[in-house]
């Protein structure tokens, strides 16, 4: 068994004649909750798309559990939640999840259980388009966790949620991680750094830092993620 869920070496991605990821290398250890932090436009979504195999990459190697990203054996093992809720707005919550469940072999019990684990039991038979934005993104999250994937890639899952709900979701992520699921979660909210085991700072297509919050703050002589990021960004510009 490999110790790393994700191993990326020399990843370059070009979108519309512009290189958005520059020679990126990183590893994500198994079973960890890893926060991918950085401003929007920094390449977080592109990196995540490369990891799930949805992105055309120009160069480099992306290995997930030792296999090339996006290859068939991985599709059972990787759950992916895009930034915009990618579910069918004209179907009910249950119809959506029954369909996505069928793709990964989850039965009706699993569907019902997953619906309540994201706090949507009361909305199970409601059409998704009639739900609030936060509820919709939880349907999208539920669709990704149905098959109990080994790696969960979550693109800004907590954006725009009320703080209590955000707290619930982070607890849910932690619960999955305790069961051995590796979680890569992106955010542009720096205070979510304290929720993660490890952090990746991504800015302008380059990794600024890769380590625990403690390591990064110590290295930069700061006390929180926000100022550490700022210090690293300035350091990069000075060099």
């Amino acid at each position: 068994m490999e110790n790393n869920a994700i191993e990326i070496t020399g990843l370059r991605v070009v979108r519309g004649h512009k290189e958005v990821l520059h020679d990126l290398s990183l590893t994500v250890p198994r079973g960890a909750v890893v926060g991918l932090l950085g401003p929007s436009g920094g390449g977080k979504s592109t990196l995540m798309r490369s990891i799930v195999g949805a992105q055309i990459v120009a160069d480099g190697d992306v290995k997930i559990f030792g296999l090339d990203a996006g290859t068939p054996p991985l599709r059972h093992r990787v759950g992916y939640v895009t930034q915009a809720p990618s579910v069918y707005g004209d179907l009910t919550v249950r119809q959506n999840l029954s369909y996505f469940g069928a793709l990964v072999g989850a039965d009706a019990d699993n569907v019902t259980h997953t619906i309540s684990s994201v706090g949507l039991a009361d909305q199970a038979d409601q059409v998704v388009d009639t739900l609030s934005g936060g509820q919709r993104s939880r349907v999208s999250l539920a669709a990704a966790i149905l098959g109990h994937p080994d790696l969960l890639v979550l693109d800004e899952p907590t954006v725009g949620l009320d703080p209590a709900l955000r707290d619930d979701l982070w607890k849910l992520f932690r619960h999955f991680a305790d069961q051995g699921t590796t979680i890569l979660v992106s955010s542009h909210v720096m205070d979510e750094a304290t929720r993660c085991d490890r952090l990746l700072f991504l800015r302008e297509g380059r990794i600024l830092a890769d380590g625990t919050l403690e390591e990064i703050t110590q290295d930069t002589g700061t006390t929180d993620a926000e100022s550490a990021f700022l210090a690293l960004a300035r350091r990069g510009e000075a060099a």
Partner: protein, 249 residues
């Protein structure tokens, strides 16, 4: 390919359609209304060249066009929505094979196409008294194949497109040339040679040829055209599968 995943997809697409009553009404009723309009327009007008009623041949040939056009639009818009909503990206990252997605859509819309084509033909023949010389079942067969062809072409066209904008443009690109040179306005034999040869690679030409056979009470003559139409449907579906992109820029 996985029959269970294909069936799950077909079921999901039908559930979505069921939730959209207006689209169902449009799919079933609109072709009938258009044929009624044509019937009203021509009434008992006689073609001065052939001394036969004008509505019968024109109605029969246009009947092949309406279901194809509608199914093409509905199918390409539905798959388009699948891309813009991000659900296609999710499906492509799942264990689903590309063939399961395309075939699931083809099955769901194929069912709708079959219902639409059958009702339209029966309505035209028994309510509008459209008089084809050949058997009604042959006409039903060709119209249903036309509708299926529209679905298959819609799937192929929308997966060939890289962006939503391109996908919408596929409709005039794929359908309008066929409308002009497939034999609706002029018999294919009378066309300039180059146009005739182009028309031989357009599927609608064979649908019109088959309808002409039926109008000439030559039902036995439709089989080559039926085979060619099935070939075009299969070819478009295969194109739809092979051009669906798992990775996008």
């Amino acid at each position: 390919m996985n029959a269970r995943l294909t069936a799950a997809t077909a079921r999901r697409v039908l559930l979505q359609l069921r939730a959209d009553k207006r689209t169902i009404a449009m799919l079933i009723v609109l072709p009938m209304l258009l044929l009624t309009l044509l019937w009203w327009l021509f009434g008992d007008t006689i073609d001065p060249m052939t001394q036969a009623p004008m509505f019968d041949p024109l109605g029969a040939r246009l009947m092949g066009l309406f279901p194809m056009l509608l199914m093409f639009i509905i199918t390409s818009v539905a798959t388009l929505r699948e891309r813009t909503s991000g659900t296609m990206e999710r499906l492509m990252a799942s264990p689903m094979r590309r063939g399961d997605v395309v075939l699931g859509y083809a099955m769901a819309f194929g069912l709708v196409a079959a219902v639409q084509g059958t009702l339209l033909t029966l309505y035209s023949v028994y309510v509008l008294s459209l008089d084809v010389q050949g058997p009604v079942w042959a006409l039903v067969l060709i119209i249903v194949l036309d509708a299926l062809l529209g679905t298959a072409l819609g799937l192929a066209a929308s997966s060939l497109a890289r962006t939503e904008f391109q996908a919408v443009q596929m409709m005039p690109v794929v359908l309008l040339p066929q409308l002009l040179i497939a034999g609706l306005f002029m018999a294919r034999e009378d066309m300039p040679d180059v146009l005739y040869w182009i028309s031989t690679v357009l599927p609608l030409s064979y649908a019109i040829d088959a309808i002409n056979d039926i109008l000439a009470d030559n039902a036995a003559g439709i089989w080559p055209e039926v085979l060619i139409l099935i070939g075009f449907i299969a070819g478009s579906l295969i194109l739809g599968v092979t051009t669906l992109r798992r990775r996008t820029p």
